[in-house]
């Protein structure tokens, strides 16, 4: 199992901002600034609860909120990991952007009067190229 990254979180108890939000805000910020990188493992719920001296349910709630928003990714029995950028977009947002890209692509194909099979082959090749680059 990968080691957890150290996570520096400063809580302001007695502030008007709930502790669960303070934790989530600071993790989001750490991810945005690159302090936490894609694939890194966060401390366990228990460890972070002990570190911050808060109820572990509070930490668990912050983690699950962040996972729902796509910032973190839970892996069964392995803990919480920083999700990649794609994880941060919601399902509907990804669908919307895909539809947008497809519409632009189709309009171009119509404009240049290309056979659909040729267009499809070109897209397939381009996507396969992308895959090989990712593996490398």
């Amino acid at each position: 199992m990968s080691r957890a990254v150290p996570l520096a979180i400063a809580l302001v108890p007695g502030g008007p901002r709930p502790i669960v939000r303070q934790i989530a805000d600071q993790i989001r910020l750490a991810i945005t600034t690159g302090e936490l990188e894609h694939g890194e493992r966060l401390p366990s719920v228990r460890a972070l609860a002990s570190q911050l001296l808060v109820n572990s349910n509070t930490v668990a709630r912050a983690y699950s909120d962040l996972a729902n928003e796509g910032w973190l990714q839970g892996q069964h029995g392995q803990g919480m990991f920083v999700a990649g950028l794609q994880g941060r977009l919601s399902q509907t947002e990804r669908k919307r952007r895909l539809d947008e890209a497809v519409a632009v692509f189709v309009a171009t194909i119509v404009e240049i009067d290309l056979q659909p099979s040729i267009a499809l082959a070109a897209v397939t090749t381009a996507l396969q190229d992308l895959d090989t680059r990712r593996v490398a």
Binding site: P13, G14, G15, P16, R17, P18, I19, V20, R46, A49, S50, L52, L53, V54, N55, S56, N57, T58
Partner: protein, 301 residues
């Protein structure tokens, strides 16, 4: 029917001292697992509730069940499953810790030496010391260590951190958090320390004059209270007419209203009442609870 899933359950529990009602038809259900904080002004009935729940005191009316058994019929076996620590931390002062520990070990079948050592580790007390040689914080830590080592299903703490210094308080909280996680014990805990409750508690239970006034997560309670600061001409509206008013103060000619369960509409209400400028603000748990409790007291002028 009593539910086995409840750590503490009361129905229409009433208890009077003379003419004063310490518990006034209190109906309350505290589930198993989790940390539950009970808050109330002095004399709100917290300690009476604990005494009745533990069967030390018979109520005038109503019922109380602890871990599914009627409080007045608790057997030694039942009591073995419940830990109770109050702020007095009373222990026989002449005994050495190790003799006390040896005694406890034989009395409680579920005694766990590892838990004892772990909790004592937070407080750095020597086992060869006598009880009377311990500081207040060390005594609190030792009481907690003993209570947790018995592996109770339910731990009741009556103002456990009262008078402890910051180091002892921190150690106490760490030990509690660990136990709630690792031993899965239910902890019912009464305190006036809101910063502690904010960190520790799953549930905030507010008692007011022997009645249940709130049962929710601490954050949800804080969310119900808002501070509105308004520049009002003249004397402002009659406090009795202000919806949800908990507390009003006049500072530098501005009115500070703490209100309960009022949405953004309250701003319109203030404008209609003649406010020239308005500002709305969230409050912290301490402000929310003290405003809520003070609303039941004498009206401020």
């Amino acid at each position: 029917m009593a539910h086995l899933d409840n750590a503490l359950e009361t129905r229409a529990l009433t208890h009077c001292y003379g003419r004063k009602r310490a518990l006034d038809s209190l109906t309350l259900k505290i589930p198993r697992t989790g940390i539950h904080a009970i808050v109330g002004a002095n004399g709100a009935g917290k300690s009476t509730l604990f005494r009745v729940a533990l069967g030390f005191q018979a109520p005038d009316a109503g019922e109380s069940m602890l871990l599914g058994s009627p409080s007045h019929l608790l057997t030694p076996a039942h009591r073995g499953r419940v830990g109770y620590v109050n702020d007095a931390h009373t222990l026989p002062s002449w005994l050495r810790l190790k003799s006390l520990i040896a005694m406890q070990r034989t009395l409680y079948p579920r005694w766990d030496e590892a838990v004892l050592s772990r909790v004592l580790g937070y407080f750095s007390v020597s086992r060869s010391a006598r009880v009377r040689e311990l500081s207040r914080g060390e005594r609190a830590g030792f009481s907690l260590a003993i209570a947790l080592a018995r592996q109770p299903d339910l731990l009741i703490l009556d103002e456990p951190t009262l008078g402890l210094d910051v180091v002892a308080k921190r150690a106490f909280m760490e030990a509690l958090i660990h136990s709630a996680q690792a031993e899965d014990a239910t902890i019912i805990y009464c305190s006036h320390q809101m910063d502690e409750i904010e960190r520790l508690a799953d549930t905030l239970i507010i008692l007011e004059r022997g009645k249940l006034a709130n049962y929710s997560a601490p954050d949800d309670f804080t969310e119900r209270v808002r501070l509105w600061i308004a520049d009002m001409p003249f004397k402002g509206p009659d406090p009795a007419s202000i919806p949800g008013l908990l507390q009003v103060r006049r500072l530098d000619g501005l009115f500070h209203y703490l209100v309960l369960d009022q949405g953004d509409d309250f701003g319109n209400w203030l404008k209609a009442a003649g406010a020239l400028s308005i500002r709305q603000q969230r409050v912290n748990l301490d402000q929310a609870v003290s405003a809520f409790l003070s609303a039941g007291h004498a009206a401020p002028n």
